[in-house]
Symmetry: C2
Subunit: 449 residues, 2 copies
C-alpha cells in the first residue's frame, strides 16, 4: 500500500495553511440572538447618546455659577421652581438663582449645567433649597453625546459581541446586526473498535468518546456540530461518509485513522474526492503528531488522532482557529481559553523541535499556585478530567524546570476558583519559593535559540 | 413618604445573604445537552476503562521479557504469528519468542504485556520481525483499568461539566446525567424615561440598554432570561409586574428605581407582597451602591442600579453568584470571567471602606501589558465596550499606584489576544518598568489594615 510521506510541520506552519479558508457568508441576526456572534460590519453611531444633558444623580439641577463658594458652613440659597418629571424635557429655562428638582436619568432644563446631589442640599421650605457644596460645570451630568457621538465608529467588523456590545447596539436602536454565519462542523468517528455509547462494547471494543468531547468543543467554540456517524475501517465507507459530510457542513472533522499504520484510510479517502488536496500530514506537537489538514473542493477537512486527549489538544490548536477564521473573527492565538500564571511543581522534560502540551492541575501551596503535571497517556480521557489546563513547552527548549513560572491555559475560567489547598510532597513544594515566582523564568537557560 | 434606612453592607456581607437561597430541582438531561450544566450527583465508574490491555501504538505485541537487550545494532528476532484485528480479542495466547501485529487501540492477546512501535521493528520476512529496542512491561500499553477503575468517583456533584467530562461520561456509557435545573431569570427595566429599542426615544427619554446587556449576561451565566417588560414609575404597576415575574421565574431582577430618591418604588413594591423581606439595601461598591436584595416568598429579588455600567458590575458581583448557587455549583468567587495580570498605567484613587471596580483597557508597552483606566461615568455603556475588563480596588486601601501589578477580570477570555501595541504617553509608560512588574506590589503600602 502506498503510504504518504509524513512531512511534519510546526503548529505555526500548520495554522498558516488555514489562512486559505475564508469567512462564511453574512446574515442578519436579531439582537437577542447576537451574543458571541462575530460582527460582519463596523458599527457607527447614528445619533448622539445621550441626546440631552442627563443627570446622573437625584438632586437639583442648577446653574453651576450660582453655587460657587457654597459650603456646608456657608451654604448658598436657591429658589426651587419645580420638578423635572422623568422622560420629559421641561419647557422652562433656568434663570440665575433658580434650581429645579431632578432625578437620576432626568433631562437638564435649558440654562442648567450641573446637578447638586440631594445629600448636599437642605430643603428650607417648599420654594427654597440650601446648597451645601459648589459644583463645577457639568458635575453629575452626562453631557449630550458624551457616551457616544453621531458618526463615531463604535465596534469593528470581526469583533465577537459581548453583553456590553449588545447594550451599546440597543442604545443605538439596532434591533438586528450583520454577523457571519456560524460554522457547521461535521464529525465522524473512525475505527472498527468504536461503538456508540448506548451499546455495551464487545470484548476488544470501546465506546465513542470523541463524538461527545468534540461535539462539546464545537459548541464551546460557537459552532454547530453535525454528527455523521462511526465509519468502519473500510476505504469506501469512509470516502462516501466524507463526501456526505462535506455537503452538509462547512468543516469536516474525522477522529481516528490518521496514524501511519496500514489501516490509515483517512488520507486515501480524502484523495478519492475529485478535487482534493492533502495540505498537512503530521505536526510536531505532543500529544497529537499525526494530524491531517486537507481540502475537498473548498471545504476544509481535518483528521484528528483517535486518542481522546490528542484529539482534544489538536482540536483546540487547529480546528478552533479554523472555525474562528470561518466565522470571520479577528484572532491572534490558538487558545480558546483563559490563561493563568503558576509555578511548575516538577521538571518537565520535552524533546527539542516539538511543542508539548502538559496537562496540569492547579494547587495552592502557601501563597503560590503550583501547576502539578497530571500523569496519563494520551488515550486516557480521565487525565483531562483531572487537569485544570495545560502548559505549553516551546519547541526550542528541552523542557521546563521545577520552579519555573509558567502560563497555564485553563479549560474554563471558573476552574481558577477550584484551585485547592492540597498536600504537596516536600519534594514538589520545595520547587516553588516566592523568589521563584517573582524571579525571571528559568526557561531561557534551557532554550537553545 | 417613608424612606427605608440605607444600611450599607460590604460586597462580602451582601453575598453572604445569598446563602439563604438553595439549589433548584434536579432533572435528567441527555449527554449532548449537558455541556456547562451542573452535576447534581457524584459520578462513579461502573466498569474498568479500558476493559482490556490496549495498545497505544501501531507495532507488534510482545512479551517484554523477549525483548530485553535488543538494540539497533543487536536486534532480537521474534516469530510473527498473525495480526490482531481492531475490535477483536484474539483467541491466541502469545508464547515465548512470538510476536503479533497490532494497531493503535487494539487489544493485547493473552501472554503479551507490551508493544514495540512499528518504527522500531524491521520485517525480515512474512514470519520474522527484528526488534530494535527493548520494551519495559506495559510499554506502549494502556492497562486494563488504567484510565479509570470500576467504583472510582470520577466527578463530584456541583461540578460544571466541560467537554472532557462529557467524553468521560460517554466512555462509561452514560447517555444522560442528573443536573440542576437552569435558573430562569425574570428581567424588568424600570423608569418612565425608558423606551423599547425599536422606538425613537421622545425628548428626555432613552432606549432600554439594560434589558439587552443583562439578558446577555444571564445567558452567559448559563441561565434563561425571561423578559417581563418596562415598568413605569408607578408603585401599583411595578408591584403587579414583580408578582407576575416571581411566578414565572426563579430570580427576579429589576434595573433602575433603586436609588434613594423619592421615585424609589422598588423597595415598596417588593414589600407590597404578603411575605416579603428586604435583606440588603445598599452595598459599598462603586459603581453600584444602591443595590437591593430581597425575597418575595422563597424567591430572590434583586434591584440593580439603572446606570448601565453599575447594573452590569452589580449583576456580576451579586446576581451571578446567586444564579450559580441556584444551579448548585460549588463556587468561591464572584467573578464570571478569567483574570489577567497587568501593570497599572496611572494612579487610581479610591475611597477607603468602598470596593471600587475600575474599567481598564489592556495595552502592550514593550514587554509589559498595561492596564489603562477607561474614563467614563457609570451611565456610559461605551466605557464598558472600550474596556477589556476591570480592576478591583479593595476597601482597605485608598487607591492603587501607577506601576502596581494588578489582577484584571477580563470580560471574555479571548480579549487577551486583542491587547494592542498602542501608543502610551511618556507619562503613562514611565509607570511600568520591568522592575515594577516583578517587584512586590505597592498596594500594601497604601493599605491601612
Amino acid at each position: 500500500m502506498l503510504k504518504p510521506f509524513l512531512r511534519v510541520l510546526s503548529p505555526h506552519e500548520a495554522r498558516a495553511v488555514l489562512t486559505g479558508f475564508g469567512p462564511l457568508d453574512v446574515e442578519e441576526t436579531p439582537l437577542d440572538e447576537a451574543l458571541f456572534r462575530v460582527l460582519a460590519e463596523p458599527v457607527k453611531a447614528r445619533h448622539d447618546l445621550p441626546s440631552f444633558h442627563r443627570s446622573t444623580m437625584d438632586g437639583v439641577a442648577v446653574r453651576s455659577s450660582d453655587t460657587f463658594g457654597a459650603t456646608e458652613t456657608s451654604p448658598g440659597l436657591l429658589r426651587v421652581v419645580g420638578e423635572i418629571s422623568m422622560g420629559e424635557i421641561h419647557s422652562l429655562k433656568l434663570k440665575r438663582g433658580e434650581a429645579i428638582r431632578i432625578w437620576t436619568g432626568g433631562a437638564l432644563p435649558a440654562g442648567a449645567d450641573a446637578v447638586v446631589m440631594i445629600e448636599q442640599t437642605e430643603e428650607l421650605d417648599e420654594n427654597t433649597v440650601e446648597i451645601c457644596k459648589a459644583v463645577a460645570p457639568y458635575e453629575n451630568v452626562v453631557r449630550k453625546g458624551e457616551d457616544f457621538k453621531s458618526g463615531e465608529t463604535l465596534l469593528s467588523g470581526g469583533h465577537r459581541l459581548l453583553p456590553q456590545d449588545l447594550g451599546l447596539l440597543a442604545a443605538m436602536g439596532r434591533g438586528s446586526v450583520k454577523v457571519y454565519r456560524r460554522p457547521r462542523v461535521a464529525l465522524i468517528s473512525s475505527g472498527d473498535e468504536i461503538v456508540p455509547i448506548e451499546q455495551e462494547p464487545p470484548p476488544g471494543c470501546v465506546r465513542d468518546v470523541n463524538r461527545h468531547s468534540l461535539s462539546a468543543m464545537i459548541r464551546e467554540a460557537h459552532g454547530t456540530p453535525v454528527w455523521m456517524g462511526i465509519a468502519p475501517d473500510r476505504l469506501n465507507a469512509l470516502a462516501s461518509l466524507l463526501e456526505k459530510a462535506m455537503r452538509e457542513s462547512d468543516v469536516v472533522v474525522v477522529s481516528g485513522g490518521s496514524s501511519m499504520g496500514s489501516r490509515d484510510h483517512v488520507i486515501e479517502a480524502i484523495q478519492r474526492y475529485k478535487d482534493a488536496e492533502i495540505l498537512v500530514h503530521g505536526v510536531s506537537v505532543s500529544p497529537g503528531k499525526p494530524l491531517i489538514l486537507g481540502r475537498m473542493g473548498h471545504h476544509p477537512v481535518v483528521g484528528l488522532p483517535g486518542h481522546p486527549v490528542s484529539a482534544m489538544v489538536c482540536f483546540e490548536q487547529f480546528v478552533v482557529p479554523l472555525m474562528r477564521r470561518l466565522e470571520g473573527e479577528a484572532q491572534r492565538r490558538p487558545y480558546l481559553h483563559a490563561t493563568f500564571r503558576a509555578v511548575l511543581s516538577r521538571n518537565c522534560p520535552s524533546r527539542e523541535g516539538r511543542t508539548d502540551f502538559v496537562r496540569v492541575r492547579l494547587q495552592k501551596s502557601g501563597d503560590l499556585v503550583m501547576a502539578v503535571p497530571v500523569p496519563g497517556k494520551s488515550g486516557m480521557i480521565s487525565s483531562m478530567v483531572r487537569a485544570h489546563g495545560f502548559v505549553r513547552i516551546a519547541p526550542d527548549c528541552e523542557g521546563l524546570y521545577k520552579g519555573d513560572e509558567v502560563t497555564v491555559n485553563l479549560f474554563a475560567p471558573w476552574l481558577e476558583e477550584s484551585i485547592e489547598e492540597e498536600h504537596l510532597s516536600r519534594h514538589e513544594a520545595a520547587g516553588g519559593s516566592a523568589g521563584h515566582l517573582l524571579g525571571a523564568s528559568e526557561q531561557e537557560r534551557l532554550s537553545r535559540v
